[in-house]
Amino acid sequence: MIVFDQATLLAFTPPVLVALLALVLVVVDIARPARDRALTLIGAVGIAAIMAITVVIGPFGLAEAQVGLIPQAGGYEAFGGVYVRDALTAFLDLLLLSIALLTILFGPDYLRPRGLPTAEFAAMLLFAICGAMLLGGARDLVLLFLALELLVLPGYLLAGYAKRDGLATEGAIKYFLLGSFSSAIFLFGLVLVFGFAGTTRIPEVAQSLLGVSELAALPAGLLMGIALLTTGAAFKIAAVPFHYWTPDAYQGSPTPVTGYLSVGPKVAAFALLLRLFVEALGGFKEDWTPFVMVLAVLTMSVGNLIALSQDNIKRLLAYSSIAHTGYILVGLAAFGAATVGSPAEQAGLEALLFYAFAYAFMNLGAFAVVGALQRRPGVTSQIATFAGLGRRAPLLGVLMFLFLLSLTGIPPFAGFWAKWYVIQAALQVGGWLNVLAVITVVNAMVSAFYYLRVAVYMYMRDPAEGAPPIEVGTATRIGLAISAAVTLFIWLPPLATTLIDITREAAAVLIAGS
């Protein structure tokens, strides 16, 4: 019997509020159609309020964040442990809500001139975020899969909702076909794991598989299950060689949607990796770590190399996002390769979370500038459209330059700290991870070439004749200010130290659980 005790209520409040907010937006749109401005405002304020509530609920060990609530050890468990709100869930929720907030702010500037409705965009986005938040706290294989589907289905719709645009439809269909295909593979993997564990609860899965992991050789079925799960997850994070859907889906989607797709589902898929591979299958890490290491090397190298030859900014950022997936995977590889119980284990997970945080803000910022440039329908995604941006719109140019430098990993911007965290974790583990660290920095060097190519267009080429002035709407301005502030000031002690503390707590949850 389901008991709605206090813990359940607290645990479920944020995702439920997000779903409610999505419904409110739909209802408002029906009652008062075509009020895009009001919808954006309601959406943004609503998300900000949910973020505040999430901070209050916690549970972080930080005393000041706990307003009158006593955090339970191990977080708030809902419905007898199907869903848990611990420090990791809270961290991921805040990150995902920030992504939703920025995406909603960046949307209208691009969508309105093209006659694309804001309400559908915002509602779909929030449903997807709700799924992502459920994924972040899932402690049950069934919930894990349901949340995953809730995450990706609105994504397919968003990718294709510019339905008169051929490219969008093509991208959406590819995304949908490969997405459902990978979901099926993933589900099959889950079933096999369930077959061996006899339970769907993640802590119990970990427990019951402990006995299996002590066998000399793993049963073929379980190995098969783990392989299928890894493949499915690799599709979701767009790791090479499971990345083929990414460039087309990114290129075809409306730009704000592309921005969301490049961070939202990615962060959520990494949450899935953490809950599944670290928490449930942590005992088998020797079996999946080599695979993750190879994936990491392939993903960052191939992503960067292909990005070098892109002339379309959205495809360029798509391949760049693949490369960043590779860097994040180094964090997971560091966890996997570290000796059980060593501090390096936790460092790898911290690096993963920190990277995801920094990446979300800088990448969304870069896509926001791309979107602002394309506010006038008809502006293509060619890099040539950036020519002379430094002259046409100096502030926008500086912001794009900031995001590009950060993506490259130039200090003191966010991307540098993220890379530093990952490399630091890899070096702590040593051995093969030293090699991985060197490959990471070599890749960062390669990536400088294509990021700086965009900067070359912005500052070292003259604008096209008669290029119209660029106007940026208020919502986009606010969003850009937020992402630029995080990218630029992440090193300031209060922000940096709090962020490190929170990632540490979130990672500690996983270490304690695995």
Binding site: L427, A437, V441, M445, A448, M460
Partner: protein, 506 residues
């Protein structure tokens, strides 16, 4: 005076100026230029206060500033000053205001962005010389890269985009490997002591003494970075491109300060943190230095372009710096440091002079010049002075440095000194030949065609060169002014490598 954080002020004053300039409307060129010059001069004045407050006899870093930054990893905001960093900081502040003043005429497009870039560049350069935390050092090191990328890429010559991307990629290759090396050292320290506290602190790490195998690999990371920046043969190929394409003031800073970042990095970080590895690698580095000295001079000999000639002469001169460092003798290191300062002044002057002629002719081809002594007598005299200074005329700053390096090299192994001495003759050859072709003889048809455009140096140009002339003479006649400052850092350096008991010394 006592309690003012002078080091932070000297680092961040240019940033304040840059932020202020960002709010000036871009049409008000005079105001932007004025604000940039005032900022640079104010920074220069603050750096003179450092000089006044500095005691060359104290065997420790002075005017320290320490603040916790990211305690979770033991990263601190830590600054300190010794004689070596003081000399380089004052060189930086001097050359920066000269460079900004020298840009007033040539730079007319996007002046606002230009001045902001220059001031941000100054923040990075001064920061590198004052940081005592490895992490802070790395951040300043990379900050230097971005404005220089813009300065070459936006205000450079026709092939500027190629040059600037090459510059950035070369520099990044090294510096990212250095990041891995820094983290490797920090983590090793953390693993040994069980705490992150002090893991990025230069002084703590220096006293720690790392495992030789780790040193061997970490040294590669550090050395590549600094060798590319100096630049050492065979990592020098970005330099001629960058110099040729950079605007005059960019070249002045590039040659005057940016190359010194590499030398400073070797002396301050690479060798003292990894002394065993430094000794193991020293023979190879000495050979590369000698090749660089001779190769730079020979290639300079055949350059048709004035700027390329000066650029390759830098490769040759900087070879003396690396040679002086890695022979691990007192004279060698004193010489290396003096060459660094002298080269900053003299090559800065030479690039300014090339800029003066380029402003008038829009050409730098030596073959098109001739007979400038008749049309531009003051210019001819000043160029003559810097040519003499660059070929190590006794009584001028460069002579002191290079002769000290030679003395050190002779003590190390006479053949080394012989090769380096031979190259000094080559440098006399390429410089005097260039001088003869440009200054003496008949006025060339090309120059005659310019007519009255070919006026002599104006007041601004004279003002930018005068301090360089004065300092070159002063340090040449009274080398003690510089050498006194270097006493303590040189002793520290030699103590760290245990000089006198050199393995691998022939």
């Amino acid at each position: 005076m006592e309690n003012l954080p002078l080091l932070s002020i000297v680092i961040f004053l240019p940033l304040v100026g840059a932020l202020a300039i960002a709010f000036i409307p871009r049409e008000r060129l005079a105001l932007i230029r004025g604000a940039a010059l005032v900022t640079a001069l104010a920074t220069f004045v603050v750096s003179l206060f450092l000089l006044l407050g500095f005691d060359a006899n104290v065997a420790d870093f002075q005017m320290r500033e320490e603040m916790e930054w990211i305690p979770a990893f033991g990263i601190e905001y830590k600054l300190g000053l010794d004689g070596m960093s003081l000399a380089l900081v004052v060189l930086t502040t001097t050359l920066t205001w000269i460079a900004i003043l020298a840009s007033f005429g040539p730079i007319v497009d996007r002046v606002k962005e230009y001045m902001i870039s220059f001031l941000v560049l100054e923040v990075g350069m001064i920061g590198v010389f004052l940081a005592l935390d490895m992490f802070l050092f790395y951040i300043f090191w990379e900050i230097v890269l971005v404005p220089m990328y813009l300065i070459i890429g936006i205000w450079g010559g026709s092939n500027r985009i190629y040059a600037t991307i090459k510059f950035v990629l070369y520099t990044l290759v090294g510096s990212l490997l250095m990041l891995v090396a820094i983290l490797g050292l920090a983590f090793n320290y953390q693993a040994a002591t069980g705490s992150w506290a002090g893991a990025f602190d230069y002084e703590t790490l220096r006293a720690f003494g790392f495992d030789p195998t780790l040193q061997f690999f970490a040294f590669i990371g550090f050395f590549l970075t600094f060798a590319i920046k100096i630049p050492m043969f065979p990592f020098h190929t970005w330099l001629p491109d960058a110099h040729v394409e950079a605007p005059t003031a960019g070249s002045v800073i590039l040659a005057g300060i940016l190359l010194k970042l590499g030398g400073y990095g070797l002396i301050r970080f690479a060798v003292p943190l990894m002394p065993d590895a430094a000794q193991a690698w020293a023979p190879l580095i000495i050979v590369l230095s000698l090749i660089g000295i001779v190769y730079g001079a020979i290639v300079a000999l055949v350059q048709p372009d004035l700027k390329k000639l000066v650029a390759y002469s830098s490769v040759s001169h900087m070879g003396f710096v690396t040679l002086g460092i890695f022979i691990f003798t007192e004279q060698g290191l004193l010489g290396a440091l003096t060459v660094m300062i002298a080269h900053g002044l003299i090559t800065g002057g030479l690039f300014l002079l090339v800029g003066v002629i380029y402003e008038r002719t829009h050409d730098r081809t030596i073959a098109k010049m001739g007979g400038l002594a008749a049309t531009m007598p003051v210019y001819a005299a000043v160029l003559g002075f810097f040519v003499m200074a660059s070929l190590s005329l006794p009584g001028l700053a460069n002579f002191v440095g290079e002769i000290l390096v030679l003395v050190g090299a002779f003590e190390y192994w006479p053949p080394v000194a012989a090769v380096a001495g031979l190259a000094m003759m080559l440098s006399a050859a390429y410089l005097l030949w260039m001088f003869q072709r440009v200054i003496f003889g008949e006025v060339s048809d090309f120059l005659r065609g310019l007519g009255h455009h070919l006026r002599d140096m104006d007041r601004n140009e004279a003002l930018t060169l005068a301090p360089l002339v004065v300092l070159t003479v002063a340090f040449g006649l009274f080398p003690g002014l510089l050498l006194n400052l270097f006493g303590v850092p040189v002793n520290d350096f030699l103590a760290s490598v245990g000089a006198g008991t050199l393995a691998g010394r022939p």
